[in-house]
Amino acid sequence: STRRGIATTGRLNPKVNPGLKKRDELEDMLEERRRSSDARHALRCYAPAVYKGLAPREVSALRGAVLQSDALQHVIGQVSAECGERRELVQEEAAHLLDEMAHRLRLGTVRFFAYVLSKVFKTLFRSVRVNEEGVQRLQQAIQDHPVVLLPSHRSYMDFLMMSYILYTYDLALPVIAAGMDFMSMKVVGEMLRMSGAFFIRRSFGGDKLYWAVFSEYVKTMLRTGYAPIEFFLEGTRSRTGKSLTPKTGLLNIVMEPFFKGEVFDIHLVPVSISYDRILEESLYARELLGVPKPKETTSGLLKARQILREDYGVMHVYFGHPVSVRSLAQGRVKRSQYNLVPRHIPQRPCLAAQALVGEAAFRLVRLQEQAMVLRPWTLVATLLLQNPDGMDLPVLEEQAAWLRRLALSFGAFLDWPDCKPCREVVGAGLALHKNLARVSGGRVRLAVAETPGVGQTAEELAFDRAVGVLSCASYRNQILHVFIRPALLSVALRTANSSRKDEVYTCFNFLWTVFSNEFILCPGASVQDFEEACYLLGKCCAVQESQQDIVMSEGGHATLAFLRALLDPFLQGYQVVCQYLCKETEENLRENKFVPAARNFALQLILAGTLKCYEALSSDLQKNALAALVQLEAVTKVKVIPTQKPVHARL
């Protein structure tokens, strides 16, 4: 029925064009810091506007409110009955869990950070540009409703910067959900705690008590408007520059007080943080290639001092429009479903509510993506990756200019100075990223070694090159969200048996499904995405649509070829994973063995010269491919022993 829908609905609604979206101006917030005293900034009178009717609350009062809450007391009673433990002991355990988790926001620490970070940020960044209209909107939102801040997550810098910005603009400081890994950095962990971070264990699936303490802690803060709550929808830092599939656990928790009528509304504020250069650039590439991530230690962070000597260009922070949970739920979730059970008793939300939260999560991540400021370098990196043998500088400049036009027509939030000549803009990007691209003899190419260094094995060389490619890819990945839908359509146009729309859609939908873990594609929105892709490709005159058919236009070749090439590394990478699974002879493949084995398989192909695509080595891609295959039921997961999940290959 969807297919028929496509053929007949024809033209899509015009609101799809994201290029028409008006975006706010960005101002450099460091400018003021370069002109006046950091100490005075840190010590200045800080009196943020707070949620209406909010009585200032001590951290200890919050603790008491959580521990004595009906919801937590209910679960404590349950747990105590289930495991035959005395109630007081369970209560103590809950208090212990809360203390391990809770933030201890103190203005003194915040002031200390405000001072230190002023220094650090001024050293690292040329400027930090913020949309001040967004800040004003946020300020209003904080006074009207409980607010949840949802920044994108690319770097450890993210939440430091968030708090720093809010402090600077005299906004209420957020409390931030952070992963437990920070806790191992004793001093820093405590410092972060005192600046508003609270710590969650990475996995606590079955632990009822932990879940109760955690969710009640978050909800209590939200209900009372105690402070804006900040967390990362993506769950962790994206190592690839692409947004990660959102996790819905915390979003579920923060939306529940609205569903249960405990607050009138909740405002979700997507925040897009983008970097010219990410501090963790090569670290991420190594991680993706299986070099284990160094444990976060304080001394490790101190070693990072050398980082301070480098130039990280400009950082952009864009506060999006608040999204009202009430508006999202309007007509979708019946709040009266909670009428018949006391609200402190945990109740599984209805399917409609679950679906809503899932959709909202994707929508918010897309809003983050769309407001990420893209720098010209991302276009240059894209072109360089498509031309591994290098490009003549004038050709690169010309193609970059072409790509700029294409990206803008697709609605990219591209920060390309209009007044400067293309040569200068491209040159500036190349200069900032000289570790990734080299210019010699008028030719530009990725800065990867051609021949093995002294004492370097072929394997080591391959990994070395892969680090370069993946680092560069992390910049290209930043613009993929602009091109992904037209790119899927371009490939579909090539693979479909005919130009009939429904056949093209079938191919599109297949690719869309395969890559639904790789890119932010909202579940169930493949028809919309198809329409958007048709619209965008039609708009840039790459395809022509008729009632029944969709065909490439005469001048559309370059655009479609470029878009296909954009997907090429992913197609190849997924193929490699499939090949590997087909060849894998072991009947039961342990899940934790999959990535190293697949990587090794890809490495062998590269060493043999049959595979040129270094991105196939990326563990991120491999995991996404596996998830897609599981979803498509080409592979099934079987639980054998409760602790280890093997993957049972059935291709």
């Binding site: 009528g261 405990e262 009138f264 019946k334 709040r335 009266s336 009428n339 006391p342 609200r343």
Partner: protein, 577 residues
């Protein structure tokens, strides 16, 4: 003739007695006319400022009502001649006088009054009949069945659920059955403390007559000046002093109702029975869809020896609600306890009459100083509970102490008898105030719900905010007056009353905006665990939510009762189902 007595002293297009109304005099001062109420004849110096500031209105901009009913606008009656003839033979009074028909064509919903003020007359009953006793009703119902005439029982006419509106789709002759002449107390049984009364009696008459014999029913709904016993039964009414005397379902011992199938009643007056589902509960709340209640036996109590008003100021609404909850938990609620929010507290202040002496105003100033400065209450957060204690003197004083002790735990300060008494007096005059608003571009309404204790605060906040937001979204220029009070406490919850009003200048279709906002407010109530109605009933106004409120099976049960009792839909007001 005596049939028209009430109609002659009451407004045809507004609330209550014709002689009693609010107005702004030539000096711009608020004033309440007439002699019937404590506030009558008084000057209200702060009303104008409060009114203008709350609604953003100016006394310059008036929207006066059509002064008299344009009789020619009333549609001619659709009469079934043989029916009218046989009524005459049976000796039942009847009239198709247009004014009388218009008078019985509406309740007091905003849209009903608004239309009348504009001189718009919709479908009205074709005939009014005045049965004199139970047997007259039996005769009328028989004839209605015989000639397939639609009957709509009419008691006091205070409905706020569109229950008295003639259904537009009704093509038969519509006859308004006015019970006002069946208003006698038939007997008082002092051994069992019961009274047997004809159902047309008006609340204040019943109470006054019983008082003469040293008794009372204690049933005092806010509308008791005008509403009838039969109406209370038909809508499941609730009285202010239900904590002592109970709601109508607790007060009723026996009901006689005439239906198209015949007369329904129980065979004895036993105080409680286990004889299957209580048939009284099919009658109570049937909203005139099954028949006419003609006679009721009710419990009575000796008049209380002593009455005392009281009031408590709380630092905020939340503390006030917690206090009421605790009072309910300890089951020590006085005859009445009501909690107004801050907006209503300020509204109450605006209705303070001119103080007669410098001393009183000095005392007022001192009180204000004590509460806001010395006790640190925030004037924009504090709220007030009003109390009424009843019983023998000693117990009342004891009871009073108990309640004030509980209040103190929630930061409550006793604020005097006067404030309490004024609060209850306002209950009766507040309905007059809407007419004043309508003279100056302000329309408003009240509505109620009941809700479990743990959701009271959330519901109040969310509904008030929803009203504000919906008004804004629908182009209302000035923020609406959106306020609530908790008017009754129960073991498991409370009754909450909302008032909302707004300035409609600049709106093309203010009634439509108003209706949408009320609709959304009701949605919000239901979403927050509130009931469809605590005591106003469903009528036609809230019918759309009945299925959701009582489940499909529940609705089917009610429908099947209707089908059996009244298969030809003689009682065709189309309320409830």
């Amino acid at each position: 003739s005596s049939h028209f007595f009430r109609q002659d002293i009451m407004k045809w297009n507004g609330w209550g007695y014709s002689d009693s109304r609010f107005l702004f005099n030539k000096k711009g001062q608020g004033e309440f006319t007439g002699k019937r109420y404590r506030l009558s004849g008084m000057i209200l110096p702060s009303l104008k400022d409060w009114f203008e500031a709350t609604f953003g209105t100016s006394l310059q901009h008036k929207t006066p009502a059509t002064p008299t009913l344009n009789v020619s606008a009333v549609p001619p009656p659709n009469l079934v001649e043989p029916f009218v003839e046989e009524l005459k033979v049976a000796g039942v009074a009847a009239s198709h006088d247009p004014e009388g028909r218009v008078f019985r064509s509406h309740g007091h919903c905003l849209h009903e009054i608004f239309a009348l003020r504009e001189g718009r007359i919709g479908r009205v009953p074709d005939l009014v009949v005045w049965p004199n006793c139970h047997n007259d009703v039996v005769k009328i119902v028989e004839l209605a069945c015989k000639y397939n005439v639609c009957l709509m029982p009419y008691g006091g006419g205070t409905s706020v659920s569109s229950a008295l509106e003639c259904p537009l789709e009704e093509t038969r002759s519509v006859v308004s059955l006015d019970t006002s002449q069946m208003n006698r107390i038939l007997w008082i049984d002092e051994k069992n403390l019961t009274v047997h009364v004809e159902a047309g009696i008006i609340g204040q008459d019943l109470e006054r007559q019983l008082n003469e014999s040293g008794y009372c029913t204690g049933h005092e709904p806010d509308s008791m000046e005008f509403s009838s016993l039969g109406g209370w039964v038909a809508t499941r009414a609730s009285g202010m002093k239900k904590n002592i005397y109970g709601n109508i379902e607790d007060l009723v011992v026996h009901i006689k109702m005439v239906t198209p199938r015949g007369v329904i009643e129980k065979s004895c007056q036993g105080p409680r029975m286990s004889t299957g589902p209580d048939i009284h509960h099919f009658i109570m709340g049937s909203e005139g869809t099954l028949g006419v209640v003609t006679e009721v036996t009710m419990k009575i109590r000796p008049l209380p020896e002593y009455q005392k008003y009281g009031s408590i100021v709380f630092p905020n609404f939340q503390q006030g609600v917690s206090c009421l909850r605790e009072v309910a938990r300890q089951r020590c609620a006085p005859a009445s306890i009501r909690l107004m929010d801050n907006e209503q507290f300020q509204f109450g202040h605006a209705l303070k009459p001119q103080v007669s002496s410098i001393f009183t105003s000095f005392l007022d100033g001192l009180k204000k100083f004590y509460i806001t400065k010395f006790k640190g209450f925030e004037p924009h957060h504090l709220c007030v509970a009003t109390l009424l204690f009843e019983g023998d003197r000693e117990k009342v004083l004891q009871h009073e102490k108990q309640v004030y002790d509980i209040a103190a735990k929630f930061g409550g300060l006793a604020a005097g008898e006067d404030n309490g008494q004024r609060g209850y007096m306002l209950t009766f005059v507040i309905a007059y105030l809407r007419d004043l608003g309508m003279d100056y571009y302000v329309i408003g309404e009240s509505f109620e719900t009941s809700v479990p204790w743990d959701r009271v605060l959330d519901l109040c906040r969310n509904v008030k905010e929803r009203i504000v937001r919906e008004c804004k979204e629908r182009g209302v220029q000035f923020p609406p007056f959106s306020t609530c009070r908790v008017t009754q406490t129960y073991d498991a919850g409370a009754c909450v009353y909302f008032y909302f009003a707004f300035n409609y200048r600049g709106l093309a279709d203010p009634l439509h905006v108003y209706e949408r906002v009320e609709h959304e407010a009701r949605e919000e109530i239901l979403a927050n665990g509130g009931s469809l109605s605590h005591h106003h009933g469903v009528g036609k106004l809230r019918k759309e939510w009945m299925r959701e409120a009582v489940s499909t099976v529940g609705l089917g049960m009610l429908q099947s009762v209707k089908e059996y009792v009244d298969p030809n839909n003689i009682f065709g007001n189309r309320n409830l189902l």
